[in-house]
Symmetry: C2
Subunit: 345 residues, 2 copies
Amino acid sequence: MRPPTIRDVAERAGVSKSLVSLVLRGSGQVRPEKREAVLRAARELGYRPNAAARSLSEQRTLPQALGSARAGGTPMVGVLLDDLRNPWFVDLLDGLNSLLHAGGLRMLLADARLSRRTGQDPADPLLDLGVDGLVVVGTLPEPAALGTVADRMPVVLAGTREPVPPGVDQVAGDDERGARLVTEHLIGLGHRRIAHLAGYGAVGELRRRSFEAAMRERGLADRAVVETGDMTEEGGYRAAVRLLSRPDRPTAVFAVNDITCVGALSAAGELGLRVPHDVSVVGYDNTSISRLRHLWLTTVDNAGHEVGRRAARFLLDRFERAGGEGRLHLAAPTLEIRGTTAPPS
Amino acid sequence: MRPPTIRDVAERAGVSKSLVSLVLRGSGQVRPEKREAVLRAARELGYRPNAAARSLSEQRTLPQALGSARAGGTPMVGVLLDDLRNPWFVDLLDGLNSLLHAGGLRMLLADARLSRRTGQDPADPLLDLGVDGLVVVGTLPEPAALGTVADRMPVVLAGTREPVPPGVDQVAGDDERGARLVTEHLIGLGHRRIAHLAGYGAVGELRRRSFEAAMRERGLADRAVVETGDMTEEGGYRAAVRLLSRPDRPTAVFAVNDITCVGALSAAGELGLRVPHDVSVVGYDNTSISRLRHLWLTTVDNAGHEVGRRAARFLLDRFERAGGEGRLHLAAPTLEIRGTTAPPS
């Protein structure tokens, strides 16, 4: 019995070989019925994409040693998530998974918040298992610690902009561009007194500075207000209550993330202000919360899928050619205009 | 240099040994400053809880072989999550992690949805790595497949009520009791025409049947309405639009989960009905979404932390004594009365 090939899968599913290939790469371009048929055929035949064959067909060679230290022999990537409670990283994981899978790699996750609660080093469970590479998703308290890991295996930081040790790649949304999109959208609607509910860390800093720069360029520096929150709903609520109770109340509020924006929405409601009639609010991250019909926040889509795919690409590159300087890729964000922004009344 | 002991950690943190022990077990009874001080001291000293010592002190002995097959030698539990996009399992993971950590075990996660998208068997990455036990969190499409895994290692199904193969333990919230709490709360407020937005699977079935039984017992069988949704916001919205447009509109809606309830909230809003003045709505799961101040849903807390701890307990038991019949533990849910329920107007 020879193992099933991609041709067998295509025949059984009644589609072309290139379509099978597209599906197995996790492409979003394939119709659901076709995708389902291909996956079913692959399952029924017990077809497994072969990392070596796949990388040859892409003119890449994964080091043969990869994954060989472990029982299964499958190359494995560890993904460290900052906090499962806020699922901002779902699209990023989708993108990451699709490309890693196409490269014949598997993905395991660890939750950094849970590890910290019990005083463990978050990356330890993954490293103990001998993963072949590490993707860190979101802000880490001590990114410098990744330096020693990066000496042993490829490390990519995704979805955040913290300073990284040498040799670590970084992929994130372009926060400066995103914050500028929001600020210009609000100014374009006619808003002048605009507030920013700021956050912390490199991401918080970039978004705030870009907001201030965009206001300054339009001659609105003296109409810009910044209140600092803690990137939680409660913090957003409290900062927004302060802001919206001022005599010179802003007519628009740009929050550093969606969850802060939801806090601002509640503050507006409690103060009897209608959104967007009396005050416009904007979030950031295009999380599932922002898409709830009941909230329907205008927000920034951080191109999470692209960030994830690019992180996977960087990792696969490093499997081929270890060493070299760390690279930075910024994905272009887009504005999602929904129900919480309108011209000032 | 002898390795640091729990006494060293206690001295450095300026607390008692038993407090250190409490913190390392993930107890919620410790003040945050104390917890922080203990974890800092443990980190600075490089203290690592010792599985053997810890289990001795608890009069348990983890099989010495556990984890010995791997490089690090640390026993490892794989946790398979059904869908990271809906973080209903956060408390469950917290509970699971606290007890596993106290037992000297580490925890790695895999996302079943991502695996299915690329046609992989969701448990494979964990099994390939040679985890020592498996916790499956949430509904799996083919729970029967766990039977072969359970022949090789302890398997616990947590947070769901699907039929399980022999030898697999199961821990979940008591859905019948939870649905009864909701129904009796609504009847107690004076509601008579009560609708249920039902879901699917074992959990959906148990909640619906318990709602119907509670209505029947109060002589309200003919006032009970059931609409079936798909456990998504969109499904909840559409079902609620149908329900709330009826001439004999129900005065209260009990949704199978929080996200469905949020859909119902939007439907009420679009139909010009105020919540809870014109219609009461109740969710299920006490997710972070239900706690958003802007939504503030009355909902059922599924005792997730207890479910997680009990799942860990079952797993640790099976490490000691392999084999034996599968056990079932149901945790008692509680009702969280918030802003979306009131007497009918």
